[in-house]
Symmetry: C2
Subunit: 345 residues, 2 copies
């Protein structure tokens, strides 16, 4: 390439130091993992083992500056956290346990340099990512790094789930009840507050704002909840809410060949969030799942409430796939969430 | 995000059509695969199975416009081919068989649109990628798509290899012979020819130039060779040559705790390539491996020659890790290849 010979020795040295530092931090984390990683960073591939009778669950999520975050709005730690959370949430949606994560990172050179005595952006990005990885015992087993004019991060999660117990989008049947974990609309509310403050939440920080920004900046993947639903065979279908209920529920319906009714009064809104934010706001990363009507579900799993929001019904010609029931009236719930360019949430 | 509501319905429709088309092509490929993919594109994760007694090999490689290819130089088919070849080559280096590939793709909108009655760039990219995938029975089991100002592709390969038989970088011992597959320097030669023609090889195309550009535009991952070396326990260590012999051999030495001597007269140069291109040129994607001195190696595997180029020696203070022996003289073989910003080849 044209750029092939343009690097200075100093740049090289800085990069190697950065790699060495990451390797050291990741090595500690690898040892803290569950022994699934047999060979980590430093060879052509990582080597992983899963248990007999398990299937692999694999997901990749691309995070881009200007599309999934803004360098001028989001703290670097939050970008790292959110990058990993997107992948972990996909594992949660299958009921899988994390085995290892892989991160491909492309960054402008200035984000890898210390500035005014402060940690480089990339170190804070890893702080956020590795803290969440540690919380969920997920070793970072490899990846790729490149200099790039655009900040881009692709996260790969490899998980394991008992064969036949994976939660799919395709298992919902007419008569099933529809549930969500946690509360909805918190991420959309946080994003709005961030936008109102022009991306400077910390200058005006007060406890209430911090709480309100939490679901947007630091969403919690519902791994324990997904694994419990899978292990105890409580759910017939599941997915994670990455693009908003009004965008994601039709996808679950499409894969299952069914339709759905959502009852507005039952939606668990995040404190301060509007019903619109709860229905259409993306990035809550709560689980959406269905269960047979006779299934006895706990009220909460790991402190996170499970709330029934509607029911699975048969498809009917001329009626929208998802209906919203509000004060006795039925309306079509049109997708108002944020669809990525691609199909995978 | 700021872009959240900016998309028109027409854009959405085009994107959904694109996804549907890819899904259809990939579904065909999935069925042609080896049955390891149990659930492909369309759910939160793909589900994969490997055989009892196998380990997983996982690798990710980031490909960026301006760094790993140039939109104005490289045909879209070649960019697709090279994107997948990088990942497959990492599996080859471990002796693993491919189970599934995942692609995260970020593209400027204009690359997804047909222009002057021609296929959109992205369709030709997939033509190149899927042709190589089919040749190596590698189903594309998922990924992510996003609009991006920079063209970026992250390829993830999941492979399987019999436990304990994976070829690692760390197994070389003093006295081992050092080998390479195929011929070296072809990719560097092709890149130089491409640069001389200012990225327009096809206008001046003649058969000789086509042949010379082959190794650069369409490198062949050495999967059969790696799998044979692993299965027949012929190699003590292996890696793929992505950044050039002078950059990659020191990495193998570092992981094994040894040094190496390379004999200039033994290097198998690609026809027309200089010794410098063979030693320092990257992206040949041949395998570099070591074998015990008594090991009887075939002259070729699958028509690709194996050539001894030197030997593993003990580290000596004050001597460079890799020495070049040329006409009886020893010199340090300094890394002159192309180091990416990152460590993984």
């Amino acid at each position: 390439m044209a750029t092939r010979k343009q690097k200075t020795i100093a740049q090289h040295a800085g990069e190697l130091e950065l790699i060495a530092g990451i390797r050291k931090r990741v090595a500690r984390l690898g040892q803290a993992g569950r022994g699934g990683v047999r060979l980590g960073i430093g060879d052509d591939c990582a080597l992983l083992r899963i248990k007999a009778g398990e299937e692999l669950a694999v997901t990749t999520d691309l995070t881009l500056d200007g599309r999934h975050f803004r360098l001028d709005w989001h703290p670097a730690e939050a970008v790292g956290h959110r990058t990993l959370a997107r992948g972990l949430s996909d594992l949660a949606a299958m009921g899988a346990r994390p085995v290892a994560a892989f991160l491909s990172l492309g960054l402008p050179a200035e984000l890898t340099r210390a500035r005014r005595g402060q940690k480089p952006w990339v170190a804070r990005f890893y702080d956020g990512l590795l803290a969440l990885a540690e919380a969920h015992q997920t070793p970072l087993a490899g990846g790729d790094l490149a200099q790039s004019p655009l900040a881009v991060a692709d996260i790969v999660l490899v998980g394991a789930v008992r064969a036949e117990l994976a939660l799919k989008r395709s298992g919902a049947r007419v008569g099933d009840a529809i549930y969500v974990t946690g509360r909805l609309g918190g991420a959309a509310l946080g994003l709005e507050l961030l936008a109102q403050n022009n991306g400077k939440p910390r200058r005006a920080a007060h406890p209430e704002l911090e709480t309100a920004l939490g679901p947007h900046l630091y969403p919690q993947p519902r791994l324990e909840q997904g694994q419990t639903l899978s292990r105890r065979k409580l759910a017939t279908a599941a997915m994670d809410l990455s693009d908003g209920l009004s965008m994601d529920l039709p996808r679950l319906c499409a894969e299952s060949g069914v339709a759905a009714e959502v009852e507005a009064e039952l939606i668990p809104c995040f404190p301060g969030a509007t019903l619109g934010q709860a229905l259409h706001g993306g990035e809550d990363y709560e689980l959406l799942f269905t269960a047979r009507p006779g299934t006895r579900l706990p009220k909460a799993i790991g402190g996170v409430p499970l709330t029934r929001i509607g029911q699975v019904v048969a498809r009917r010609k001329g009626r929208s796939v998802v209906s919203l029931i509000r004060e006795g009236h039925r309306t079509a719930l049109a997708a108002g969430g944020w669809e990525h360019f691609g199909a995978r949430g």
